[in-house]
């Protein structure tokens, strides 16, 4: 017994000794390796910057998205990963990551600006998309640009990824200008309004936020430029002159709004005759889909349908809104025209009950280029059934997913969000 106790005590002592010795060794090893590991980690972050500016004397971290509270910078967009100040230079280097490209995988990029706020170099650090936007050359087109990015264009055929790149650079500039690190570049009114257009009128832009409006002839003398949405969701006009240029948007239902270059709603103060001209011009250019929509909704509800048009005040992809009376019920029908594959229009229709729940869904054609899509899976009937019972609160976007057809799925997702917005608009304004 005593022998056993002695043996146990010895064993415990040796175990404690092992713990103490190894703890001591680990402390020593940690003290030696911790600075090296920290330096290696910094080097990993700085590696793209060293490639971007090989002659830079050094970089001082101002912002790290992993620890935003440790930075004095505020209102930094989520695409910004790091902001470094370039030592002895007065310039800044920004590293970003955006998932707004075509595949949705992160595109990583970095750019550096001088003390005047002009880009001195830009590069792509990671590019997952299959279509090359000119990874080596395209960033170089940004050199010399300031925060206005006036002379930067999108790459034709790779619009999603190149516009994602542009938006990311704009985000980087936003972080720098909002925090007073560089001065804001001058953006001429036309550029400012063109960039404002997809924000205030989503129906005229595709899911990448690229304006699809085409220049149209306008009979209105007081309007400078007229853009017509190919999906017939409405018109956009530039009115005024010079720095007083402003934007007028007219939706498919004739509702008019006006915005200045800062994005302020100036409908109440804009000249009434100009707004009236815009409304009349838009009405003259609008397509009449009542017959087509009536026929389509009869397919969903039955031939015994009474249809009355409504006018929601939303500026999105909704081109038709109706009260549908059939089988003793009152429901609401919406037609949406969004941009699908190749920015071609996808027409979808929805019937909602008085609570805003989808009771029917139909589409003219979902897969627009069947020879392009070889791997998609779509059971049309089951897909449309999946929308029945959907409400705005319950909609996650997954219901619109068609495997292998990302752009079509996004188009339908946008359509559903837009019809719910139109329904809410009608409820708020007394249309329902």
């Amino acid at each position: 017994m005593e022998k056993n106790t002695g043996s146990a005590q010895k064993g415990i002592l040796i175990l404690i000794l092992i713990v103490v010795v190894f703890s001591g060794i680990l402390c020593g090893v940690n003290a030696y390796t911790a600075p090296i590991i920290e330096w290696n980690d910094s080097a990993a972050i700085l590696a793209p910057l060293v490639q971007l500016l090989p002659d830079a004397p050094g970089f001082e971290l101002l912002y790290d998205s992993a620890a935003p509270d440790h930075s004095a910078l505020e209102n930094v967009p989520c695409t910004v990963r790091y902001i470094h100040e370039i030592s002895d230079n007065g310039g800044y280097a920004v590293q970003l990551s955006t998932t707004e490209g075509f595949t949705g995988d992160p595109i990583e990029l970095s750019f550096a600006v001088d003390s005047d706020g002009k880009i001195i170099n830009a590069q792509v650090d990671a590019y997952p998309d299959t279509k090359d936007m000119g990874v080596a050359d395209y960033p170089l087109t940004y050199i010399g640009q300031d925060s206005a990015l006036s002379d930067v264009s999108i790459v034709a055929g790779v619009t999603f990824s190149s516009s994602a790149f542009r938006r990311a650079v704009a985000d980087g500039f936003s972080a720098l200008t909002e925090n007073g690190l560089v001065a804001e570049g001058y953006k001429d009114p036309v550029q400012a309004l063109t960039e404002l257009l997809p924000v205030v009128f989503s129906g005229i832009a595709n899911n990448a936020g690229i304006v699809q409006g085409v220049e149209a002839q306008s009979s209105a003398a007081l309007l400078n430029t007229a853009l017509k949405a190919p999906t017939d969701t409405g018109m956009a006009y530039f009115a005024g002159e010079g720095d007083d240029l402003y934007l007028i948007v007219v939706n498919a239902f004739g509702t008019v709004k006006a915005y200045d270059t800062k994005g302020n709603d100036i409908t109440a103060s804009a000249p009434a005759e100009v707004l009236e001209q815009a409304r009349e011009d838009a009405a003259s250019q609008a397509a009449d889909y009542l017959k087509k929509d009536t026929k389509a909704f009869k397919k969903l509800t039955g031939d015994d349908l009474e249809i009355t048009a409504l006018t929601p005040e939303t500026f999105n992809s909704v081109t038709g809104a109706y009260v549908l009376n059939y089988d003793g019920k009152t429901c609401y029908g919406f037609t949406s025209r969004t941009y699908g594959f190749g920015d071609m229009p996808i027409v979808t229709r929805y019937v909602l009950d008085e609570n805003g729940t989808v009771v029917r869904m139909n589409a003219d054609e979902l897969i627009l280029e069947k020879e392009y899509f070889s791997d998609y899976t779509l059971d049309d009937a089951a897909y449309k059934e999946g929308f029945i019972g959907l409400t705005e609160a319950a909609f996650t976007g997954e219901e619109a997913l068609i495997t292998g057809a990302t752009m079509t799925s996004n188009a339908v997702k946008t359509a559903v969000r837009d019809i719910f917005a139109a329904f809410n608009s009608l409820k708020e304004n007394g249309g329902i």
Binding site: S7, A8, K10, G11, I12, I14, L15, I18, V19, F22, I25, L26, V29, N30, Y32, T33, I36, I37, N40, A44
Partner: protein, 219 residues
């Protein structure tokens, strides 16, 4: 593993492939030849260090405290190696990630350290070196198959001729399991009929036997 290891026995009763011990390095780090080489070196170093330390401690440690000591020593050794690898070889460490730290729960280390408590220092070192060499060979073999056939490359260098003949599953984790399984089956079949060697079933019986023997001696 046997009390009196010979080269033949070590191959026939090889822990990695026959006994399926310490599969973590073989399965986790063999997608690429470079990571297999790195992981092999780290495993070998951890194996030798922990076995030698346990061999020294065996003289002082009561038998019932062997396993706790093995756990502490293996975990400590692997932690030290992990820190050095992270600091001195960052690109290699990035390839291996968490699998270096996962070595601290490797049965291969525990089994080898436990064996070293019953052997002299020379025999411990000899066994460690042979085991290390075998592990290295197995890891390299698996890595070459996985990378060449699964990724059409070797040590990161593309092999254009094989680009259209990639077997994608081999570059996935499942591929590591497939190759280990085939290797285990092939070696087991090769050695199970040779004289003086045992195979998996016999080893399992020997593992259980010490418990039965202990029960008999108590009776």
């Amino acid at each position: 593993m046997t009390e009196h290891p010979s080269l033949r026995n070590l191959i026939a009763d090889n822990p990695s492939v026959i006994l399926l011990l310490g599969l973590c390095p073989v399965l986790s780090a063999t997608a690429d030849v470079r990571s297999a080489l790195a992981m092999g070196c780290i495993t070998v170093l951890a194996l030798i260090c922990s076995c030698l330390i346990m061999n020294v401690l065996r003289k002082f440690l009561p038998k019932q405290f062997e396993f706790p000591a093995i756990f502490l020593v293996c975990a400590g050794v692997v932690s030290i190696i992990d820190l050095f690898a992270h600091a001195l070889f960052p690109s290699v460490y990035q390839m291996l990630g968490l699998y270096v730290a996962a070595l601290s729960v490797s049965l291969l280390l525990y089994a080898s350290a436990a064996d070293s408590c019953r052997m002299t220092a020379e025999k411990t070192l000899g066994q460690c070196l042979v085991l290390s060499l075998l592990l290295f060979v197995i890891m390299l073999f698996t890595a070459v198959i996985r990378e060449v056939l699964g990724n059409a490359s070797f040590a990161g260098v593309e092999i254009p001729a094989l680009k259209d003949f990639k077997i994608a599953v081999l570059s996935q984790p499942a591929g590591a399991f497939f190759i280990s399984a085939f290797l285990a089956a092939a070696l087991n079949a090769a050695v199970s009929n040779s004289s003086g060697s045992k195979g998996v079933a016999a080893w399992l019986k020997e593992l259980i036997c010490p418990i039965e023997k202990a029960e008999e001696s108590v009776k």
